[in-house]
C-alpha cells in the first residue's frame, strides 16, 4: 500500500480511535456527567490547543524532523498577547504573535538545514530561548484578554463552538495541503528517504523550513487559544505540550522517523490525550494515580500501533 495514502493513514489510526470509542462508552456508562453536552464542549475546548499544536507537529514529523519548541512558542505567544493587547490593540498583537511563531519555526528549519544542527537539539535550543523570552515578558502569570474575545471563544451553537470550528478548519486545510499539493508529496518524500528526495531534485531546504514555519505558526495559534481560555498569559503554560503533541502524533500512527502517517490519526491522538484527564477525573480517580494510568495507556496505544504496522 502506498505510504501516505489515505487508506494506509486510516489503517494506522484504527487503534487510537478504538481506544477513544472504548473510553467514550466506558465514560458514558460510568459517569452521568460525562454524557452531558456541557462536558462535550469542555473536552472540545481542552482538545483545541493540543490538537492544533499536534497538527503542526505532524507536518514536521512527516518530513522527518521533530519540534520540541512548540510548548514554549505557545507560552511565548500567550505572554505577548496577554501583555501587549491593551497597549497596541488586539489585532496588531495577534498578528505579531503569529509572526513570531512563524519566525521561530523558520529559525528551527534554518538551523536544521543550513547549520546542520540535529532537529531535536535545534528545537531544544529554540525552546530554551522562547522560554527565556516569555519569562522576560511575564515573570509571573498575568495580563488580560478582552472580555469580548473570551465570550466569543466560549460561545456555542448546539454542537458547534468556535474552538471546534477552528480545529476542523485548520485540520481540513492542512489535510488538503498534505494530500493535494506538491508540497505535501515532497514532505512524504523527504521523510521517507532524504537522500532519494535530494537526488530527485526536491528542494529539501525550502520544504523543511516551510514545515517548521507551519508548526511554529500553529503553535502560536494554539497559544492564543490557551491564553483566551485562562484569560491571561503564563510563561510556563506550555511545558507539557511538546511531549503531549509528539505522543498524539505517534499514537495517531505517524512514524517517529517520518514519511508515514497523517492528520486523521493525529486528531484522534490529540482527542485521546485531552480525553484521558477528563475521563479519569469524572470517574473520580486520584490525580496521582492518573499519571500512572496515562503512562500505561500510552504504552498500550503504542503497542497496538506496533502490531498494526508490522
Amino acid at each position: 500500500m502506498l505510504e501516505g495514502s489515505l487508506k494506509r493513514q486510516i489503517n494506522l489510526a484504527i487503534p487510537v480511535y478504538t481506544i477513544i470509542i472504548i473510553m467514550t462508552v466506558a465514560g458514558a456508562i460510568g459517569s452521568e456527567y460525562f454524557r452531558t453536552l456541557n462536558n462535550y464542549h469542555n473536552i472540545i475546548y481542552r482538545v483545541a490547543a493540543i490538537a492544533i499544536v499536534s497538527l503542526g507537529q505532524t507536518v514536521v514529523m512527516l518530513a522527518g524532523g521533530i519540534d520540541l519548541s512548540v510548548g514554549n512558542v505557545l507560552a511565548l505567544s500567550s505572554c505577548i498577547l496577554a501583555t501587549y493587547n491593551t497597549s497596541f490593540g488586539l489585532f496588531p498583537t495577534i498578528l505579531v504573535t503569529l509572526i513570531i511563531g512563524l519566525l521561530i519555526g523558520v529559525i528551527n528549519g534554518f538551523g536544521e538545514t543550513k547549520l546542520g544542527v540535529p532537529p531535536m537539539v535545534m528545537t531544544l535550543a529554540t525552546m530554551s530561548i522562547a522560554k527565556g523570552l516569555s519569562l522576560l515578558i511575564r515573570p509571573t502569570p498575568g495580563g488580560s484578554i478582552p472580555y469580548g474575545m473570551y465570550k466569543f471563544f466560549d460561545y456555542k451553537w448546539g454542537l458547534l463552538s468556535f474552538p471546534l470550528i477552528l480545529i476542523l478548519l485548520l485540520g481540513s486545510t492542512l489535510f488538503l495541503i498534505i494530500h493535494c499539493t506538491k508540497f505535501g508529496r515532497y514532505i512524504f518524500c523527504i521523510g521517507g528517504n532524504k537522500l532519494n528526495a535530494k537526488k530527485n531534485g526536491i528542494p529539501i531546504v525550502k520544504i523543511k523550513i516551510t514545515s517548521y514555519a507551519i508548526c511554529g505558526l500553529l503553535a502560536a495559534i494554539a497559544g492564543i487559544i490557551m491564553s483566551v481560555r485562562i484569560s491571561s498569559g503564563d510563561a510556563l503554560i506550555g511545558e507539557t505540550f511538546a511531549l503531549d503533541s509528539i505522543t498524539a502524533v505517534v499514537i495517531g500512527g505517524t512514524a517517529m522517523m517520518g514519511g508515514e502517517g497523517g492528520i486523521v490519526g493525529t486528531l484522534g491522538g490529540a482527542l485521546l490525550i485531552a480525553m484521558i484527564s477528563n475521563f479519569l477525573n469524572l470517574l473520580g480517580i486520584n490525580p496521582m494515580t492518573q499519571y500512572i494510568i496515562k503512562g500505561l495507556i500510552l504504552v498500550i496505544a503504542l503497542a497496538g500501533k506496533v502490531k498494526k504496522s508490522d
Binding site: V121, L133, L135, L136, L243, T247, V250, I292, G295
Partner: protein, 327 residues
C-alpha cells in the same frame, strides 16, 4: 606530531574544552574579577555543585551512544531523592540499607524500560517518557504529595565536605562530591577505552545488526545500558539528597534537559555510535558556569535560558562544520 594527530581526531572534544576555558577566563577575569586563588576556590565549588548533573549526564551519554534516549532520568532522580530520605529517616545506621534499596529500585526501573524498548521494539523516546509519567505518579502516590524523612548528616557530608585542610580561600584541597563523580567518570573512561565494553558500546550504537553478526548481543547490551543510566540517575538523586538534606518533589526535573544539552554540546549525536563521555563533562561544566554567570549578572533564569539556547545552536553548528570539513 603525535599530539597533533590526536588533536585532529578529537577536534570536536578539544574545541568544547577550549570554549570552556574561554568562558571560565571571561567569567573569572572579566565579569567577577576575582584573584586567582579565589577563582580556583570558586571553580572547585562549582565542581562540587555539578556532581548530580554530571552523574546524570554520563548516563544519558551512554544511552545516546547506543542510539537511544532516556527521558526518565529526571523522574528517577526525583524518586531516588524521595526514597533515600524516606528510608534513611535521618539515621546513620540506616544509610547503607537505604542507599542499597534506592539503587536497586532504580536499576529495576532501568531494566523494565530497557526490556520494553528491546523486546517490544518501541521508540525509546516514548517508552522512557511513559516511564517517567509512571514513576512520577508512583512517587506522588507513595508520598501523598508530602515527602517525609530526612538525610543523615553523615550522608550529607558527601556533598558538603572537602578533603584536606583549608588552603587559601578553599575549605580544602578538593570536594568529596567532585571525587565521587570524577571517580565514576574515570571508571567509565577506563571501561570504554581499555575493555571490551567500549568496543561493544560503539559497535551496538553504530550498527546493531553488524554488532550482532560480530558476536555481540545488542539487545542484552542495550538493556544493560538503560540499567546503568538508571543507576547513575539514582546516584544523582542520592547526591542531590546529600546537597539539600531532605526530600522534595520533582527535584530531578531540571536535570533532564540539562543532561541532554550537555551531552550534545560534548559532541555526542542522536544517531548512536558517535561521541563520548569526555566532551559531556565539558558540556556539564559550561552549563554550570553559565548558571553562575547569569546569576551573578542578575539575569536570573531568563538570561540562562536564552544564553543556553544560543550557545547550543552555536556549538552544534561549529561541530557540524568540523565534522563536514573532515569528510
Amino acid at each position: 606530531m603525535k599530539f597533533f594527530n590526536i588533536f585532529k581526531r578529537n577536534l570536536i572534544v578539544f574545541s568544547i574544552y577550549i570554549l570552556l576555558i574561554i568562558i571560565a577566563i571571561v567569567f573569572y577575569g572579566l565579569i567577577i574579577r576575582l584573584p586567582l586563588s579565589k577563582s580556583i576556590a570558586h571553580f572547585l565549588d562549582l565542581i562540587r555543585q555539578v556532581a548530580p548533573l554530571s552523574l546524570i549526564s554520563l548516563g544519558q551519554t551512554l544511552v545516546l551512544l547506543v542510539g537511544g534516549i532516556d527521558l526518565s532520568v529526571g523522574a528517577i532522580a526525583s524518586l531516588a531523592n524521595i526514597l533515600s530520605a524516606n528510608f534513611m529517616k535521618g539515621e546513620v545506621s540506616l544509610i547503607p540499607i537505604s542507599v542499597f534499596l534506592t539503587l536497586t529500585i532504580c536499576i529495576l526501573i532501568g531494566f523494565i524500560s530497557g526490556i520494553v524498548i528491546v523486546k517490544v521494539k518501541m521508540p525509546p523516546f516514548l517508552i522512557t517518557l511513559a516511564m517517567s509519567s509512571v514513576i512520577r505518579g508512583a512517587y506522588l502516590l507513595y508520598t501523598g504529595g508530602a515527602p517525609r524523612g530526612g538525610i543523615a548528616n553523615e550522608f550529607r557530608s558527601i556533598a558538603r565536605e572537602w578533603i584536606g585542610s583549608p588552603i587559601g580561600n578553599a575549605p580544602g584541597i578538593f570536594p568529596v562530591a567532585g571525587i565521587v563523580w570524577i571517580a565514576v567518570f574515570v571508571a567509565l573512561l577506563f571501561a570504554i577505552n581499555k575493555t571490551i565494553f567500549g568496543v561493544e558500546l560503539y559497535a551496538v550504537g553504530g550498527n546493531p545488526r553488524t554488532a550482532w553478526l560480530s558476536g555481540f548481543n545488542p539487545n542484552k547490551f542495550t538493556i544493560g545500558i538503560y540499567m546503568l543510566s538508571a543507576t547513575l540517575a539514582g546516584m544523582s538523586g542520592l547526591m542531590h539528597s546529600a546537597l539539600i538534606g531532605g526530600a522534595l518533589l520533582h527535584v530531578g526535573d531540571p536535570y533532564l534537559l540539562d543532561s541532554i544539552a550537555a551531552t550534545c554540546m560534548g559532541g555526542t549525536t542522536f544517531d548512536g555510535g558517535v561521541g563520548g563521555i569526555v566532551g559531556t563533562i565539558a558540556g556539564v561544566l559550561i552549563i554550570q558556569l553559565l548558571n553562575a554567570i547569569t546569576t551573578i549578572m542578575g539575569m536570573k533564569e531568563t538570561g540562562k535560558y536564552i544564553v543556553l539556547g544560543l550557545l547550543i545552536i552555536a556549538i552544534l553548528s561549529i561541530n557540524h562544520l568540523i565534522a563536514s570539513s573532515r569528510r
